[in-house]
Symmetry: C2
Subunit: 341 residues, 2 copies
DNA sequence: GTTAGCACTCCAACGCTTGGACTGCTAATT
DNA sequence: AATTAGCAGTCCAAGCGTTGGAGTGCTAAC
């Protein structure tokens, strides 16, 4: 547990670093945040905070930089809330009021206005799991591979490939297919995604099927997830304007990560959360892209259709602003969808 | 008209520059391309080529760099054709054979494989002009503005706004609307795009309508173009890997240009061309993004649906490779679409 | 028309110096 | 025991001059 003063100092370091993108010196903290202490006292505290893992010193005569742990603590406990400026609120309303057309238009407008206000990359993911499964087919490619095909009422989802165990006969494949169909036909893709392997359904003497089932169901989940998803991204170069991407190599790394849409979609969606809930992921350890933080909110867009709205930026992100923008946006979207029904 | 030797030298400069991204010295040319001349002779020729506008010398003790004019000449007359390597051909086939699903899937696969092979940014634009126009409505917003709405059989295209001349009465607006409907209803959006202003249809006494008509039709063109278009881009970061974007400012400028999708789509589509035709635009003067070249091929994707496949890279682009890749891809796509029918 | 050779230009890289930004520590103070 | 003034020490970033080399243009000879 940190003393009050330590908290204040840590908060000062993070705030200053977010704003100035430069190591924070004890003197700066004294002058701008804690005029009642001497810089020497603050130095002592900084030293302790560093040994606790909250701060990093790039070199001996530099100030301190917050670690990812510090940002996490900041987001959880230190950060105070903020309101949007009038200008920002107006901007949001302007973008979203005129575009009450299709869901696609709204998605585009949302990414644009978020990127505009926050100066970070914005992503929206729509997951439509409202399709009903019509059939599941297993096709033996006779090279030891099995092609798994899902047919839904609106389209065919395919391309799933599974290695077939050696000793599988045609009959066994047919049997597996019958089971899968029995379990899943007529159900929504959404139920499917959340399905736990139904080992219980397979009685002991067919234990040999289990491994294959597990693989097939994994493939099916992946395929149907990818197919029901719609992702839109805007403002990659807004993020690049920040100083962490001052050299092109880092900028390219960032872009390369942004190009992997599946990965990004997964990051935005993999922890459910309720309507309007906010999630913050900081750094690669919390499964954000390397060097990045991702802030996400979820909105329901209808039965079995859900959306995730996210902001991706450097770990040194203006969390206060981003969180308040996402909060406002999700509120508007929820309202908008509510009315539409 | 350039002498044979000048052509050889110019070609050598361009080839070397494309490969090495560094100013080309007279000695290099002699050693690698023209061992029968002395470097002094080549220097004389280079000097002439420079005064003709084909070459640029960054500073007095540097070699020569090709101008945009030189690249243009190179593409038109000097460049020899090349074939894809086995590896590349296989790569293309691998990407495109498995993905015979929806048009969207194919578009994505095409951008990915092109970016992969060429190491430049790849764009695909689909223009779907197969909708039929159901109605055109003019809505007086009574603030001197007119909202123009197109309704098609598959969707409503809206958001077109026109300034209304002062002396326009309600009746005149209604009249204009009748005319527009008479002309366009039941027609394909595609006919519409290529429509020349039908002034002849409006007889003299209604000359006052002409200016408004011109504006309205412009808006309609723009709106329907934008709505029927689908653009997909991949590999922005591939282009950034090239040395012209070594400094961040230039890299960001490039990305900012890439973010203007409407502009990019227009560049790819604005000069029709037949199935399989190849177009090369070099530099801002030929309407490519600044500092960039754009190579485009067109493919028909069905009745009133056409696609443009493009590669965007620095002016110092490997045109040989890009052209041969696009040639191959368009051939495959045309084949694929042909079969599908 | 071609070429050898030389004088000249310019850049990019390197290393050196220097000012200053911070810290940690110590000893004095509250 | 906590705080603080002050000082010694560290390290960086920027500026600057030097230098080697890469190329050219020009001239005079072939």
């Amino acid at each position: 547990m940190l003393s009050d003063r330590k908290k204040k100092i840590l908060c000062a370091v993070v705030d200053s670093y977010i704003e100035k993108a430069a190591p924070v010196a004890s003197k700066d903290i004294q002058e701008e945040y804690l005029p009642d202490c001497s810089s020497a006292t603050i130095r002592n505290e900084l030293s302790t905070l560093e040994s606790m893992g909250y701060l990093i010193q790039p070199h001996v005569s530099a100030g301190r930089v917050p670690s990812e742990k510090a940002f996490r603590f900041y987001v959880n406990e230190l950060m105070c809330e903020s309101n949007l400026s009038v200008r920002e609120t107006e901007l949001i309303e302007r973008y979203l009021s005129r575009k009450v057309g299709s869901l696609e238009e709204v998605m585009t407008a949302v990414t644009h206005v978020i990127a505009e206000i926050t100066n970070y990359t914005s992503v929206v993911v729509k997951e439509d799991m409202s399709d009903t499964i019509t059939a599941i087919k297993l096709l033996d490619l006779s090279n030891g591979k099995l092609l798994v095909v899902i047919v839904t009422d609106s389209r065919v989802l395919k391309d799933g490939m599974v290695d077939l165990p050696d000793d599988f006969s045609e009959g066994m494949i047919a049997q597996a297919q019958r089971w899968l169909n029995k379990i899943f036909c007529g159900k929504h893709v959404s139920e499917f995604i959340n399905f736990d392997y139904p080992f219980a359904l397979v009685n002991d003497e067919f234990a040999q099927y289990n491994a294959l089932f597990k693989k097939i169901i994994d493939v099916l989940k992946k395929v149907s997830l990818a197919n029901g998803m719609d992702i839109e991204m805007y403002g990659e170069n807004k993020t690049l304007a920040h100083s962490e991407y001052a050299n092109v190599e880092d900028a390219r790394k960032f872009l390369a990560q942004m190009e992997n849409k599946e990965r990004i979609a997964e990051i935005l969606t993999n922890d459910g959360g309720e309507d309007g809930s906010l999630t913050v992921k900081i750094g690669a350890e919390e499964n954000a892209p390397e060097g990045c933080a991702v802030v996400t909110t979820r909105v329901s867009l209808g039965e079995n259709v859900s959306g995730s709205i996210g902001v991706i930026g450097p770990v040194r992100m203006n969390y206060r602003k981003v969180l308040s923008v996402l909060d406002k946006i999700s509120e508007i979207i929820i309202d908008l969808v509510g009315k539409g029904e």
